[in-house]
């Protein structure tokens, strides 16, 4: 037997006796699939909420401390060579 014939023989063996599809397969798939979707939605929502909270916290902190406003210098540079 060459390779092709052997593969065809194996293919025929594999095709024998398909198992019956259980009737509760679809509802179970739907239940699990919906749960996965719900979890993903919840995870996404949590992520956005965290991001939003972080942005808000930063904005509040920045408006209170104003890190960009430079304090007037209290020392004078030494002057020599007059």
């Amino acid at each position: 037997m060459n390779l092709r014939e052997r593969e065809a023989a194996v293919r025929r063996m594999l095709e024998r006796t398909p198992p019956p599809v259980p009737p509760d397969l679809y509802p179970e798939v739907l239940r699990r699939g919906t749960r996965i979707l719900r979890r993903r939605t919840a995870a996404r929502r949590l992520l956005w909420l965290t991001l939003l909270a972080a942005a808000l916290a930063f904005a509040i902190w920045a408006s209170l401390t104003r890190p960009w406003a430079e304090l007037p210098s209290t020392t004078t540079p030494p002057i020599n060579g007059w």
Binding site: M1, L3, R6, E7, A9, V10, R11, M13, L14, E15, R16, T17, P18, P19, P20, V21, P22, L25, Y26, E28, V29, L30, R32, G33, T34, R35, I36, L37, R40
Partner: protein
């Protein structure tokens, strides 16, 4: 807006149900071959397929033209590979006698045969899916076909040592 949303939801459910009705039989057969269970008693294969289909359902809106059948088959294959890995520590050699046509093969040989011969996936795609080279896929397949057509003689059951007749 809400009505449109609801009708979209309904169409999605209808599409998915039609897909499952069409594909479940063949996929369940493939999964049962993978787990080497008998067609009438295949809890592992059912579980494998249920999880894979649930994943397909969850990503149904993001398929973007991908074939849902391909996607589900891929899920089944990778889940099976991962499970076999966790179960045996190795994915290669373990031979366990159970029911089904492919009972005499290792999990990896079963996976190759089912993908290549039952599902007709090309060697390249099979290799890419499992991280193996094309030559390796071909070698494993050839060996598995040989084993299947000419099963090696079963190791003789341990013969109880004949009792020494008391002299």
């Amino acid at each position: 807006m809400r009505e449109r949303h609801a009708s979209q939801e309904a169409r999605r459910a209808r599409d998915f149900e039609a897909f499952v009705a069409g594909a479940a039989g063949r996929l369940l057969h493939a999964a049962t071959l993978l787990t080497a269970e008998t067609p009438d008693d295949n809890p592992r294969a059912r579980r494998l397929l249920t999880l894979a289909l649930a994943e397909t359902y969850a990503s149904w809106d993001r398929l973007r033209g991908d074939d849902p059948y391909d996607r589900t088959r891929q899920q089944v294959a990778t889940r099976f590979a991962r499970e076999a890995w966790h179960r045996h520590g190795t994915f290669g050699r373990q031979r366990r006698d159970r029911g089904g046509v492919l009972a005499g093969l290792s999990p990896r040989e079963r996976l190759m045969l089912v993908l290549r011969l039952y599902e007709g996936v090309t060697e390249e795609q099979t290799g890419a899916l499992l991280g193996l080279s094309t030559e390796r896929v071909r070698a494993i397949c050839t060996r598995a076909v040989a084993t299947l057509l000419h099963p090696p003689p079963r190791p003789a059951p341990a013969v109880p040592v004949a009792k020494v007749a008391p002299s």
